[in-house]
């Protein structure tokens, strides 16, 4: 019952965690999306403003150039003279020819629509390319222009004759007192409108508008992208349309603002005045397009958040499931203690046990047969070699006895290998019979067992006051035996015959060490030392079958510890093994 309630608690906790994670994800997503919204709008505003600035600057330049064209005409003395002559005598062919050739040159060079020579009274003297053409708007503007005496621009107007929209540069002719005026008529379709309409980025709704104030109205000077009808045909009263960017612009407002454009659609607009002109420039884009991007972003964010929540859910559910599995496991263990395993588990355990028993039996049978069947021939090899030695006795040559010696030595070595292999297999599978071990005494007797008294006298063997340990005494004895005899063996060629045994608590383990000042080894090979049949030294230099340390490792691992080594060539080696400290 306890476990059940714990499971429920775990489940509830999982849901709470999941809820919290999902909420956090959604909050983070929302905050980010809102921030992104604002940032994106600002960015688009800046973009619009830079478009407006670029266009405004170009428009100013364009105007300056046009007025410059006017000044060139205005200051041309020869042209003024021809004009004066022609005014005086309309039949002066030479004067006419001179005027026409100049006008042709001017028109061809600068791309004007038409040029008109106006008399002081507003009568059109000469047109080009159509000599007889007239322009009422220009004619009407002549007196004022002559009065001002400076080159000026006649802003967008609609010509009554052909119904088209034009601009004109009015250049008074004649130094001091103008005798007339040259009008350079500009067709905005040739450059101005396309230039204004051009939008530098791909946009569904981006548009630049040129507007001027006319009375109480904002007059749209160029063609509109979203409204059929010609340029100059839309005028909207400033009064009553505060939300209209064009109205704001002609009222002198500049900067970025949100509003509704001539269609009534919400837009983001950048307003700018074109200096030295009646024009204002509006660069605008529909808010819906701005928001489409943030909408997309929001969609992506939403999906991302969804995916994240999904991942979190999976993780939390997996964790909960894992925890539940864990608690099931605990439950099963508890039930086993109570002798009440459920049927399925029992079956599985039985199956596993059977498998284990089978493989263990197999292993034992193998080991048994190795022990018996491999040993017997070895015994014969050794025994009969000895018999041969005895039988042949003196008649055996020195080489003969040496060879027999080699045979016997090999047989004995193989015997020791088999023993060690059997030991390893035995240490792996026999049950530990643990007791409290006086490790200090065990280390000392291991030393005593592996050296003869004469050698012992030449050794400085020190055992510190090391902690006791709990373990299988027979096995731990093998560990000390192997480590101490190794230390002795590899100390022999070295001048320093000193072995130090130490042991100390490290966390919940006791780490014992056997340190010598012998020949040592290359630290790079340290992990190899504990492998089976791994030897770092020649058989000829040091006896041994290469299994001792493998046995050490196996035994220590059986006890829940670990074995490792440190060494340097020529400086000695230290072997360590750890055992779990006794629980009190």
């Amino acid at each position: 019952m306890e476990y059940l309630s714990e499971e429920r608690r775990t489940g509830a906790a999982a849901w709470i965690v999941l809820g919290a994670l999902a909420a956090a994800t959604i909050c983070a997503g929302t905050v980010y999306s809102m921030k992104f919204d604002g940032r994106h709008r600002e960015e688009v505003g800046r973009e619009l403003m830079s478009i407006a600035e670029l266009k405004t600057d170009d428009l100013v330049l364009w105007r300056r150039e046009r007025l410059g064209d006017g000044y060139i005409s205005s200051g041309n003395a020869r042209f003024a003279e021809s004009f004066a002559r022609f005014l005086a005598d309309r039949l002066d062919r030479e004067a006419e020819k001179s005027l026409v050739s100049w006008m042709k040159l001017f028109r061809d060079t600068y791309g004007y629509d038409s040029l008109f020579l106006e008399g002081p009274g507003g009568e059109t003297i000469l047109g080009y390319p159509d000599a007889g053409a007239k322009d009422a708007a220009i004619a009407a503007a002549v007196p004022a222009a002559l009065g001002a005496g400076a080159v000026e621009m006649l802003d967008f107007y609609r010509d009554g004759a052909d119904g088209r929209v034009y601009l004109a540069v009015l250049a008074p002719i004649g130094a001091g007192r103008p005798i007339g005026l040259l009008a350079l008529r500009i067709d905005p379709e040739s450059f101005l409108y396309p230039f204004i309409e051009r939008w530098p980025t791909a946009s569904r709704t981006g548009e630049t508008l040129l507007v001027r104030r006319e009375g109480g109205d904002a007059l749209f000077l160029n063609r509109l992208r979203f409204q059929t009808g010609d340029a100059l045909s839309l005028r909207i009263p400033i009064e009553g349309h505060p939300e209209l960017p064009a109205a704001q612009a002609v009222s002198g407002r500049t900067g970025v603002l949100e509003g509704r454009d001539y269609r009534g659609v919400p837009v983001l607009a950048a307003l700018r005045k074109v200096p030295d002109s009646p024009w204002s420039l509006v660069a605008r884009i529909d808010l819906s397009e701005v928001e489409a991007v943030t909408g997309q972003m929001r969609l992506v964010l939403g999906l991302l958040a969804l995916a994240l929540v999904g991942c979190e859910a999976t993780a939390v559910i997996a964790m909960a499931r894992h925890q539940r599995a864990e608690s099931y496991r605990l439950k099963a263990a508890a039930a086993a203690e109570l002798g009440a395993l459920n049927a399925e588990l029992e079956e599985r355990v039985a199956l596993r046990t059977a498998e284990l028993v089978a493989s263990n039996d197999e292993l034992e049978a193998f080991a048994y047969s190795v022990a018996h069947d491999l040993r017997a021939p070895l015994r014969s090899i050794d025994g009969f070699s000895r018999v041969m030695e005895e039988e042949l006795g003196p008649s055996l040559s020195a080489e003969g006895s040496r060879v027999l010696g080699v045979i016997r030595g090999s047989a004995r070595k193989m015997d020791s290998l088999i023993s060690s292999l059997l030991d390893i297999s035995r240490f792996g599978r026999t049950r530990l019979s643990t007791s409290l071990i006086d490790m200090r005494r065990m280390a000392e007797s291991a030393f005593a067992a592996c050296v003869d008294p004469a050698t012992a006298a030449g050794f400085d063997f020190r055992v510190a006051d090391i902690p006791e340990a709990e373990g299988d005494a027979l096995m731990i004895e093998r560990v000390w035996g192997n480590l101490v005899s190794n230390a002795v063996k590899y100390s022999m060629p070295s001048p320093t015959h000193r072995i130090e045994v130490d042991g100390r608590m490290e966390g919940d383990m006791i780490v014992y060490s056997v340190r010598d000042r012998g020949v040592g080894f290359d630290q790079r090979y340290a992990p190899k030392l504990f492998g089976m049949f791994q030897r770092l030294h020649d058989d000829a230099d040091f006896e041994g079958n290469g299994i001792g340390l493998a046995i050490v490792k196996r035994i220590v691992q059986r006890h829940g510890g670990e074995a490792w080594a440190e060494g340097r060539v020529g400086e000695g080696a230290a072997f360590f093994f750890s055992l779990p400290s006794r629980r009190t």
């Binding site: 018996h372 040993r375 015994r379």
Partner: protein
């Protein structure tokens, strides 16, 4: 086979090489005058209970020591041991298991069945000879039997 009556040692060993080495070891120290070598457990029991091939023997003429290998054809060493120790005519005869096996379960099983000694045959012949010498010395000369 040696004299069936005057047998000091019954050697039960199926491996002829091992048997030969054991016999050489026995002879080496002149500790044994007569011994009988049988190669399987059934022959060992026949000998002890004077059956079959050995029906002309007297059961009362017991060898002074039995050297028994565990791995034997037909009837294995444990069965021989069990049969001998179960029968009061033969239960007094000391049985020394002389085997290759160092398996603990073999050792335990042997003692459970009442073995008197358990010797693992060393591979080193010199040690083997020494072991045979020691055990014969002990069981034939030093040990006092009822």
């Amino acid at each position: 086979m040696a004299d069936k009556r005057q047998v000091d040692i019954l050697l039960v060993e199926d491996n002829p090489n091992d048997a030969e080495l054991a016999i050489r070891a026995l002879r080496k120290h002149n500790l044994v005058n007569n011994f009988c070598h049988v190669t399987d457990g059934e022959a060992a029991l026949d000998f002890m209970f004077a059956r079959g091939e050995y029906s002309d023997r007297d059961v009362a003429d017991r060898p002074r020591l039995i050297l028994l290998d565990l791995k034997l054809p037909k009837v294995d060493g444990f069965e021989v041991l069990e049969a001998l120790k179960a029968d009061e005519r033969t239960s007094m005869t000391p049985v020394v298991v002389l085997t290759t096996s160092q398996e603990e379960r073999d050792l335990i099983e042997s003692y459970r069945l009442g073995v008197n000694s358990y010797i693992v045959k060393p591979v080193d012949f010199d040690k083997f000879v020494a072991a045979v010498r020691d055990l014969c010395m002990y069981w034939l000369l030093l040990n006092v039997q009822p």
